[in-house]
Symmetry: C2
Subunit: 174 residues, 2 copies
Amino acid sequence: MDIAAVNVLSYEDFVEVFGNVVEKCPLIPAAVWSCRPFVSVKAFEAAINEFIDALPESGKEGILRCHPDLAGRDLKSGTLTRESLEEQAVAGMDALSSSEAARMARLNEEYKKRFGFPFVICARMNEKAAILQQLSERCQNERIVERARGIEEVKKICRLRIHTLLLSDRTFKL
Amino acid sequence: MDIAAVNVLSYEDFVEVFGNVVEKCPLIPAAVWSCRPFVSVKAFEAAINEFIDALPESGKEGILRCHPDLAGRDLKSGTLTRESLEEQAVAGMDALSSSEAARMARLNEEYKKRFGFPFVICARMNEKAAILQQLSERCQNERIVERARGIEEVKKICRLRIHTLLLSDRTFKL
């Protein structure tokens, strides 16, 4: 699917395809449908980023809070979104040793207690060891720094999800 | 559950309970968690309304586009959210005669074609005949009027969902 095909989608098909490019936030792609036509995929991504940037700080925190923990209860209970499950699996989050799992759980709790939102990182762009190290380091940041950092990761995840969807058979069928 | 109990919920429990008070927009309650403590249920509702009001017009349209059609394909295919299913059933949307269903489908399509978002109405506060009449009348509005009108209905739906949740056994268990 190229950008010309994206531009002619009804809002219903658009939300069906791109509804989870920002985890559990279909509001965002549903809003940027108003900005069509996009001159390029990059312009589509930029529209999403601009919408996110224009949200109040509480809204950015809201986006982060819609994300699951890495190797957390949604992974264990099978309630991750399809996209998150794939991403966490690529990064090896479904195959942690018991000591890695215990460390991840402890750091996730510490992070959430400190910031009031979960640790978000683009799992596709990081390996297990790097994720654990960054989680540990980012626990030390100031809240305002970490909110901005989490949102940058949301944008990376979004970009990769869009590219995956544009290349997938499922999307071609529309 | 009273407002004191709401105020002590972790963001995870808060989003678990209130995540769908605005249809498929958990971002919104997840954002207003930042505004706790709420002095009253009314203040909680006001925080949601203020967040919605501060969104750009595209964001308001995005909220509307997260809503299903009344008596539409999600009702037929069993993919409505629990809340929407209950509301549509109360208004008799699951028991339309074939001529009512045909009229509803035709008007829904006309509305969506004209505005680029679906007809939203607080089904709990309206009966079948009133819904059909309003859908027919609102198809004649200007886009800007109808966007504002849809958002007012979203706020009514949200208020009733909050009140239902605060009274429910499921919520008390947290």
